[in-house]
């Protein structure tokens, strides 16, 4: 069964309306719930920061949680809304595998950014004086 307009497309499949609508509805609800959870975490971080001597580790943990939730959101958008989940494996791999480059891309950039901070704090006394003292909100 060839596609009417594109001879290189060999098969195409239809999902029935009911299943589809249900899937979209569930995904929408899921995305909304995740967003609400993210907002709650965001406000929690804000409140931790407001208090005296904020617990940095706790803040970091919450931030990590938001990152994971965001990745989950991205997964649902790409897989359901963009229909990547319905494509054959070949497509999924060519999209997902190159994105792995981001791992080293992010690691190296952040690593070097952090090192830049340490270098400045070490060799630029004025910079350190004017910016390192503990923040009060």
């Amino acid at each position: 069964m060839q596609h009417p307009a594109f001879e290189e497309v060999t098969i195409h499949h239809h999902t029935d309306d009911a299943t589809f609508k249900k899937k979209v509805k569930n995904t929408t609800i899921l995305l909304s719930v995740i967003t609400v959870v993210e907002l709650i975490i965001g406000l929690t971080i804000y409140n931790i920061h407001k208090g005296e001597a904020p617990n940095e580790l706790l803040v970091l943990m919450f931030k990590g949680m938001v990152c994971i939730l965001t990745l989950a959101k991205a997964y649902y958008i790409v897989s359901v809304f963009m229909h990547l989940g319905d494509e054959i494996r070949n497509v999924i791999m060519t999209i997902v595998v190159p994105l792995l480059l981001f791992i080293w891309f992010i690691t190296a950039f952040i690593w070097d950014g952090n090192s830049y901070k340490n270098l400045r704090n070490k060799y630029d006394a004025h910079y350190k004086e004017t910016s390192v003292t503990p923040a009060k909100h």
């Binding site: 931030k63 965001t70 958008i77 497509v91 901070k117």
Partner: protein, 293 residues
Amino acid sequence: MATTATVQQTKWWTGGKSPFNMEYGKLMMWYFLMSDAFTFGAFLISYGSIRFSQNFWPDPSVVFNAFPGAGHANLPLAFVSVMTFILIISSVTMVLAVHAGHNNDKQGVVKWLFWTIVGGAAFLGCQAWEWHHLITGEHAVLVNGQLDIVGQTTRINPWGRLAAQADIATAIQNTPREMLIRLAEMGGHEHAGTAHTNFASLPNAELIKAIDVEGLHIRENGPVAFGGYFFGITGFHGFHVFSGVIINIIMLLMTQKDVFARRGHYLMIEKAGLYWHFVDLVWVFVFLCFYLI
């Protein structure tokens, strides 16, 4: 032909067909989006790099706490959550438009595309308001030993550390009179008079007393890159939303003129949809990087 049987047996790579079972335009769109993901990725990662190179970074909940019509109420993250929901919903309507296209349902495509465009326009409107609010906002800062009132632009950031009381006391003496008047007008002590007090008539010493130092939350300058990246990245994203809206409008017009109906398929809607979802996808990450962490 039994479709399921073919799926299992098809040799995808032998040539003469698409190994991805995808027409070239859609494939191209996917790879274009990959490429664009690297553009945005590069922006966001360099933002991360700069952020990690700073000793101090403003708390987003402090920066983004305004809501249209709510005056000076402190509503952290409220407005941006509205924007996020607008974009998610417009993504859903786009999914429905694409689905209608699969079913060759012209009316459905028109209807859902229309709502997608409305969503996109609403998002752009929200962004315009937010930018305007940040740029024209008035925040008291302590800079170069004086007090000043600035907004958030690409050149200055008013969200630094809260200034120490001793520094403020010195700086307030060095601040020009016009600035003192403006500061007093921004937040004067109730007992110094009503909101309508004519501060300009007060002598300097009175004027300084009239300024509500606590209430003004006077801060030092924050990292300048904050504004640069915020406006740069949300601007670039906004540009994508804008072009997405334009594309969707073109799609809407083409649908109405029966271009796709004559072609026999609505695959263009699918490609526009991919682009639109990508814009939503990017927002998810912008939302994370600028508003949540």
